[in-house]
């Protein structure tokens, strides 16, 4: 265990803890947009900036993103110094200029003290904050069907060449993780369309619900080693089976001598 100070409060955390978790553990709030517990930290949105210093640094402070900085023994963390607030406000202000109509961005900006952007609002408003959660989750599950394309101001999230992505398995992980829900998809009876690609769905052999795309079943069967028949039943029916099994077991336990 190591011990550090967050806004004057001493906290003890296991070595290897990242600063963000140590700060939240100490009971302080830090706004983030590109962080997700299931994914490696990325450090792109820059909202979780904090000042860190050490006694021996003689008053010198370093600004770091707490989502990626490792908690260190003896570190002094200041989450709300004047310059941290100023910098976060610039970041929020810039995001609000990019996404002036996006409720989440409006909420986050307001929380940091920015009600209206002081910059030129995006002439083509978008809900995409380029947090890359979608591409990161897609990489994480081993598909990498979408990526960020172009550099700088022209950066966007897209499938290769803006065509229907050949590698996409239609799992919707990207759309579901998107904090501003800006990845559109459609489901109709037995099919699903996302990124311009339409998928045929497998139906649950019991309830008949279309619950998974063929590609998804194949991908996860190959990746995890479960047989494809694992996807014969939908999650709800599997849960039902499981519940029945537990009931049987517990009843058996009660009746046995």
């Amino acid at each position: 265990m190591i011990s550090l100070s967050v806004n004057g409060k001493t906290v003890r955390v296991p070595e290897g803890t990242r600063l963000l978790d140590a700060i939240r553990g100490a009971g302080f709030d830090v706004t983030t947009l590109c962080d997700h517990p299931a994914l490696e930290p990325w450090g792109g949105c820059r909202l979780c900036l904090v000042d860190v210093t050490r006694k021996e640094w003689d008053g010198w402070c370093k600004m770091v993103v707490s989502c990626m900085f490792p908690a260190e023994d003896g570190l002094v963390v200041l989450t709300d110094t004047e310059r941290v607030q100023r910098t976060r406000r610039v970041v929020a202000d810039l995001l609000l200029a990019r996404c002036p109509d996006t409720p989440l961005v409006q909420k986050v900006a307001a929380r940091l003290g920015v009600e209206r952007t002081s910059y030129a609002p995006n002439p083509e408003p978008t809900d995409c904050i380029l947090c890359a959660l979608c591409t990161r989750v897609c990489d994480h599950i081993g598909v990498s069907a979408i990526a960020s394309v172009n550099r700088g101001a022209g950066r966007e999230i897209a499938p290769p060449f803006h065509d229907a992505p050949p590698d996409c398995i239609g799992c919707l992980a990207c759309a579901e993780i998107c904090p501003t829900s800006c990845i559109p998809y459609e489901t109709s009876d037995g099919s699903r369309t996302i990124w311009g690609k339409t998928f045929e769905m497998l139906r649950c052999t019991r309830c008949g619900r279309a619950h998974v795309t063929k590609e998804e079943a194949r991908h996860f069967a190959a990746r995890t080693g479960v047989p494809e028949s694992y996807f014969d039943l939908c999650d709800a029916c599997k849960r039902e089976d499981m519940a029945k099994q537990f009931t049987r077991l517990s009843e058996g336990a009660r009746t046995s001598p």
Partner: protein, 632 residues
């Protein structure tokens, strides 16, 4: 051909020298990218063909040689005759005959093709008497222009790999690091991190394998020193890397070269093949038992890939984007292994340091910045080109003595150093000794050695806006402050140059700049506001003029500037009318010309060409009736 051991190396060098000495007369043709663009390939071919036709190699031992960049790009194509040292400038293929005549007879030179001192108008015959060369001290570029980059024997004859032999056979890895430490060598990519400290950290770092990398992604506008080193003396880079690998205990290395440098890739590849054949690279180097090999990784030309973590990701085959690192690359770099990344020029210095000793290197330069530094001198200066000087040389010496002063003898305004991460240094600081600390104190930085000289016809707001435009294209867009900040900064600057600046804009710019400096992920974003902040620091009045008076003091911003002809000064030569791209100037020969404001696009071409200073510019806002075409 493979050299095993120290004695065999000495023998190989002796043979190479003998062979070089047999070339009693050498005609060195600069075939760096600059001269090639000016047609030096044809010049080299013409000289070689003519020498062949005359049988000069057999009769007088005359050989022609294609070398790397001589540096004096402004005057290319360049040809140097050795041993006389005669320098010919702006040579054309048809000059081959007369050049060879004079070279063989040894009697004078083709005066027409010699460099002329702009002050005295007298021809200067010898290479080392030309002020551009006379005032330089070359270490990293010691052999460029002298050796044939495609021939390892020529490199050996000129002292290549001597430092490596000393390192491998006479010194332990720790002693090699100590030698580099003694030299006080700091990173030539611009950040100036002590090289020995980096090596020490990588040596100590646990983990295998270790990597040694060379950053050849030089991407600053106007910078080309690394290209010239890789093209002109690739062995100096290889030698430095082998020494570095030996010092840190690495066996694999990469040279990351941007794809816009095809000749550098060709010469490096050739040099690596030759070095392997000669036992200077690969398994069991020089029979010492030390293995190290290098691969070339070609970058796609993204500026951000010059950033250490983005460069490493690019080599790994991933998107070339920076990664937030709170761990040094010397601990976790390429493929998360201990890695040393140095700039091309740094590597080129290493061989010379090991050969001549750290003390020799440290005897040049200033207290904290030792040795020499290469610069690409460009912009409104008479002698543009590639130069190398001891650290601590003043800007004035560089611009006026080596650069020959400002083009057209116009007033000097500022010099931009450090590329898009650097800043502009004003006239008041011309006597600033150039080293890492002094440039940083002045609000600029060493950067990769680009030096862009600007005259009074430069609008500093426009300069800052130019660099913003460059960075918008080159930012990777991963983090918010850099991506969105640059976009918004550009909007503010577009307004300034178009006369839409509002009170408070300077403060808005400063606030955004601070947010980008503190908030951005990598050095690209953190340093992106530098051109803005340094111009604000020294030329705030120009910003104020743009905002308050809607005037561009330099007369560059077109939306704010109008031109007129001063009747008393115009001699009716017609040069302005000829230069005008918009047909906005009319007038009879030898009579007063007039600019038709309605047609004028404020490009300033007339101003530049007028021989009698009869063109005057004025802010449109001050005389709207004149600027709008109310007057002729």
């Amino acid at each position: 051909m493979r050299i095993e051991g120290k004695a065999a190396f000495e023998e190989a060098v002796r043979k190479a020298r003998e062979e070089a000495a047999s070339r009693r007369l050498e005609v060195l043709v600069c075939c760096g990218t600059g001269c090639l663009a000016n047609g030096s390939q044809k010049v080299a071919e013409a000289l070689a063909a003519e020498a062949d036709r005359r049988g000069l190699s057999a009769s007088v031992g005359l050989f022609t040689k294609k070398t790397g960049c001589h540096g004096f790009c402004e005057r290319g194509p360049l040809v140097v005759i050795q041993p006389s040292g005669t320098l010919y400038t702006r040579v054309k293929p048809e000059n081959a005959g007369e050049i060879l005549d004079k070279a063989v007879s040894g009697d004078g030179a083709v005066t027409r093709l010699l460099y002329r001192d702009p002050a005295t108008k007298k021809p200067v015959e010898k290479y080392d008497e030309v002020p551009f060369y006379k005032n330089q001290t070359r270490v990293a570029m010691r052999n460029i222009g002298k050796v044939d980059p495609a021939d390892i024997r020529d490199a050996l004859a000129h002292g290549a790999y001597r430092g490596l032999v000393r390192a491998l056979f006479d010194l332990s890895p720790e002693e090699v690091i100590a030698e580099v430490e003694k030299a006080g060598l700091r990173g030539r990519g611009g950040a100036g991190f002590p090289t020995a400290r980096k090596w020490k950290a990588a040596r100590k770092a646990p983990g295998e394998p270790k990597f040694v990398l060379c950053n050849g992604d030089e991407g600053d506008p106007g910078a080309f020193k690394d290209r010239s080193i890789m093209e002109g003396d690739p062995h100096s880079v290889l030698e430095g890397m082998v020494i570095g690998a030996y010092a840190v205990g690495a066996h694999e290395g990469y040279i990351y070269v941007r794809d816009e440098y095809p000749l550098a890739v060709v010469h490096l590849t050739l040099a690596m093949e030759q070095a392997r054949r000669w036992g200077l690279l690969g398994k069991n180097i020089l029979g010492s038992g030390f293995d190290f090999d290098i691969r070339i990784s070609r970058g796609g030309g993204a500026f951000v890939c010059g950033e250490s973590s983005a460069l490493m990701r690019s080599i790994e085959g991933k998107t070339g984007e920076p990664r937030q690192k709170y761990v040094h690359a010397t601990d976790k770099g390429l493929f998360d292994c201990p890695t040393v990344l140095n700039n091309v020029e740094t590597w080129a210095d290493v061989g010379a340091i090991l050969d001549r000793g750290g003390e020799w290197f440290a005897s040049m330069g200033t207290a904290k910045s030792k040795g020499t530094k290469a610069f690409s001198l460009v912009g409104k200066v008479k002698n543009t080109g590639l130069i190398e000087l001891p650290m601590g040389t003043t800007l004035r010496h560089i611009i006026y003595d080596i650069g020959g002063g400002i083009l057209g003898d116009r007033p000097f305004k500022a010099v931009q150093t450090g590329g898009p991460s650097g800043g502009c240094v004003p006239e008041a600081l011309l006597d600033l000794p150039v080293d890492y600390e002094k440039l940083t104190e002045a609000g600029s930085m060493m950067g990769s050695g680009g030096m862009i000289v600007m005259d009074d016809r430069t609008c500093m707001v426009d300069v800052a806006r130019y660099f913003l435009g460059f960075l918008i294209e080159e930012s990777c867009g991963k983090c918010t402050p850099c991506r969105e900040g640059l976009k918004q900064m550009k909007v503010l600057f577009d307004d300034l140059v178009a006369g839409r600046g509002r009170p408070g804009d300077i403060e808005r710019i400063e606030r955004l700049a601070e947010g980008m400096q503190l908030g951005s992920l990598c050095e690209l974003g953190k340093s992106a506001p530098n051109p803005v902040l340094s111009t604000l620091r020294y030329f705030r009045h120009e910003y104020e003029a743009h905002i308050e008076r809607k005037a561009c003091p330099a007369g560059i911003c077109r939306d704010l500037t109008a031109y007129e002809i001063v009747a008393e000064a115009c001699n009716g030569c017609g040069a302005c009318a000829k230069a005008c791209p918009a047909d906005a100037i009319t007038g009879e020969k030898k009579a007063l010309h007039v600019i038709h404001q309605g047609k004028c696009i404020s490009c300033g071409a007339c101003f530049t060409v007028c021989p009698s200073d009869a063109i005057r510019f004025f802010p449109k806002a001050e005389r709207p009736e004149a600027a709008s075409g109310g007057l002729p």
